[in-house]
Amino acid sequence: MSAMDMNDETLLTYLEESREHLANIETNLLNIEESGADIDEELVNTVFRAAHSIKGGAGFFDLSKIRDLGHKVENVLDMVRSREMVPTPEIVNILLISFDKLKEMVNNPAFSNDEDIEEFVRALAGLTAETLPPEKKESVSGIVDIKLPDGRVIMQMNEFEYNQTVANNNYIYLVQYDLIKDIHDSDSSMLDFHRNLVGIGTIENTVTDFAAVGTLDGEILKSIPVYMLFSTIVNPGKIISLFEVDDSRITIIHDPSPSGEDLTDSVEVPAVSLPVQEPPSPATPVVAAPIVESPPVVAEVPAAVPQKPAPVKAAPKKTAPPEASSTLRVKVKLLEQLMTLAGELVLGRNELEESINQEDLKAIASGGQRISQVTSELQEAIMQTRMQDIGSILSKFPRVVRDLSRQLNKQMNLNIVGKEVELDKTLLEGLSDPLTHMIRNSVDHGVELPEARKLAGKNPVGTIDLRAYHEAGQVVIEIEDDGNGIDGNIIAAKAVSKGLVSQNEVDSMSAKAKVELILLPGLSTAEKVTDVSGRGVGMDVVRSNLDKLGGTMEIDSVMGKGSVFRIKLPLTLAIIPSLLVSVNKESFAVPQLNVEELIRIQPKDIKDSIERLGTSEVLNLRGKLIPLVFLSDVLGIKSTYTDPETGVESDDKRKQAIDRRADNNSENDTIYDEVRIGNDRRYHAGSVLNIVIVSSGNISYGILVDNLHESMEIVVKPLGRHIKSCKEYAGATIMGDGSVALILDIAGIASILKMSAVTSTIQSQSEDETEVSKLGQDRQSFLLFRNSPEEYCAMPLELVGRVEHIESSSIQIVGGKRIMQYMGKGLPIIRLEDSAECKAIPEDNLAVIVFNGFGREIGLLAMRPVDFIEDEMLVDHTSLRQPGIMGSVIIDGNTTMILDVYEIVEKLYPDWTRDTTLTASGSINKTESNGDKPLVLVAEDSTFFRKQVVKYIEGMGVDVIAGEDGEAAWKLLVESKKKVDLLVTDIEMPNLDGYGLVARVRADSKYADLPVIAVTSLAGDENVAKGKAIGINDYQVKLDKEMLLESIRKYI
């Protein structure tokens, strides 16, 4: 007898098939559990058949434990199938762990017979016993008498077991043999004999005639008579040779053949239910013996018998890692396609060979083309074979979530979307662990306990969404939970306390960056390390695993709401169709998936199609407004343009699409419009605008490029390590000529530009300007900086002249005032703390913001980093109000103080403001005849802008009165004791807007020739015309200080 031959092909096939069976069982069982009493017979049948096959095969190969466990599982499933048992969660649980054990054993067949399956068997048997219907329940304790031919009852058998055995078409034999006479005397080994028996059937019961053995005195060991009740499908003829006894000693108790009889009597005697029979398992595995018709090999007793069977308990229980499957499932259709392509390739080659022989150039060209075509298709098809559904690794998660949440007493649902998304096989394998870790994290740390959730007003049942989808040549996998979110500050604090990052770095981090600190090695904020998610080695390992696959991870989290973990993987070796565009001779690829339309705008149409919205431009596309961006701006490339006439390249001076290319002077259009150059398609002098309308999700925008090129299929290559974090690019590709083109990430660009779906789908209605202009209102650009690590500050960008980085040593104190050497002059330096109660600005990381005021340049001391933002502001003018601070606004979750630098200067240099004859540029020499200063009336509803304008004008040394809308301004005008010399008004105001106010002013003879300057965010042609018609003298853009002051000077 040799050990189980692991190389035996039939064995390997059996194992492979068993694995396949087991692969789907988990999902099926979970579905069965869900259906509960509404039993899906088909489903149960599937699982039953799986168990049956596994059990059957195991018997052949002497995998006794596998067989036994399979058998018990089969019993339970049979009862479910016949609706005798309702698959409750407890029952399904037992089935699940039993199948787990089976899987374990199938993956380690050589050691499977050493496994202890006692508890599983007991649990399963317990189920069957409990759930039997009453009539069958009796059979559990019922007894069947087994009789000798002479009628004596020699033993009894459990009725239930008996019925089961009979139902499986076994013969049941009663064999009488003698251990000494039949076995020992013929030199058989006890253990071998035993093993052989067990290999082909089940020992149901044995009765040993102990008395007949005798005592130690007397003639001992002459005979040990044994009666054995043995069930097997082996027929009588073979049994005789097995036992090597003559047929008189074999009684057929049950013959399954149609004419056979059954010699038992069922006795209804309530008795203690017999322990479930466990056939003994051999110590060493035996050779596979196909059972059916061939004579049992086991009858032959080998001469050499191992004296010491392989140690069972001595060796440590070895669990070899489950073999990574070295096979692949491929759709038959794909294989057929490959076959076809191979055929095409052969034909193409033949054709080419022939053409080469004939030296027929034309035929060679076409042959080459054909080969090229087939090669592409072949390549693609072969790549497809490696693509597997992501569902294969996602399908285990329902179980993981179920088990884990039970363990933690939490309730949650797992939703999986996108199982059909395909990924390269190697990527899949590498993803499995990271995903498992992250799912476990969500269950363990993310979602709260049901009570906590209820208190927070959430559904006690948590939800985890697992999504997979394609986007821009990448596969995105998201794990989103509606738990309590990740507190970036706690993470940051932990990271600092572990010395992984410095406090300084943390301070300049955004909220998101702090949350992403969780990816650092050595970080674990769980109070106790639960073995559920493991130690803090977790997330960083996930990230490094992802790195190896060329992927990235993002984390978005909102406290109290939940978190989203987003993994992006390149579809390496993916081929995607894309559009090639170029900017400054550099080529870029836009995935076809994202391309909506291509637009080409002739110069003469530009004015109609493109409008300015605040400081951005939008394209009017059939009534829809699409934001426009210059690709060159987004990517930081210098845009150049080649003069079609001279072929000379120069920098594209356009600041806006509306501008003409070569010249900012709009009158010169006409010259260029008419020029036509041969067959150069760009005959409109390169002033044609090439726009690619792209979309990603529900965000659409237009990208302005220099040129549009062809559409082609490209092979996506992952980005190198250095540029992988660039959101603008999704990958790269190699062009036909060997050069590299970067693939644009449309969604990434949208996020960089902070685009949101709302702004991009605004409908324009030409009459309804108010809607559009409302967006422009109160849009203000601010320079952002800090006074101290915790104090965020902002000041209007228009005021800023320059920003310089300096060392604290450059600042000197002269006469009690700070001063810095700057551009050959002394620059007065002011700090917020000079006028307001705030923290002291630290010594390092300094910057100086240079601005103009009171006729000189002044520098405001600030902390780096210095940033800028443009946004609609909801300025709070009341809280935080102090000299030097005009209000506050929330930016990025931080309360930001808006500094009024003039107030700071006033505090520090009170004598400057009295010097009214000095202004920023030039001086006002005009004084009123009565020696008073001129008086300006300002009408502006936005407090912020109103104060700004008032400040500027006052800075000129002029008196100002201001009203918050047309009515208020009118009132001030009428009631003013002093004559008003100039009206500076906003257009968009409640109660009485700018037009209304001006109309009223003009209508009143008293003020008919009062000069009016309108300050507004839109200065389109129509507005200007309308304004001029009403009598507005000048239009100024909000809030161009210099121009405004110039204009004011003109009119005073």
């Binding site: 000494i180 253990l191 040993t208 130690l216 001992i220 040990i224 398992s281 069977p309």
Partner: protein
């Protein structure tokens, strides 16, 4: 082969098996048992630690030992049996004849 040794304490005997429980050892063991019982031992404990092989003769010995002890109202107990041997004994219902404990 090392000798199995028997230790007698009043009416209890402990036998530490140092050899396989097979035909070749049976004679010596039989003698040991008989002597012990004659000497008044009622309960015999056989420690089978490390013993891997048992044959029919060995089994016969155990059975007859129990039979002899039963006559004196005594009991045989086998300890530390290996898993395979346990399986075998159970299938033969030997555990219903005398007490068997596994490792």
């Amino acid at each position: 082969m090392s000798e199995s040794s028997i230790v007698i304490n009043g009416n209890r005997a402990d036998l530490i098996m140092k050899q396989d429980l097979v035909a070749s050892a049976v004679n010596d063991l039989r003698t040991m048992m008989q002597d012990a019982i004659t000497g008044g031992v009622k309960n015999i404990f056989i420690d089978m630690t490390g013993i891997k092989v048992v044959d029919s003769m060995g089994i016969g010995l155990l059975i007859s030992t129990q039979n002899s002890l039963s006559k004196e109202d005594g009991q045989l107990e086998i300890l530390n049996i290996s898993a395979d041997i346990m399986d075998l004994f159970k299938s033969m219902r030997l555990d219903q004849h005398f007490s068997i404990k596994g490792e």
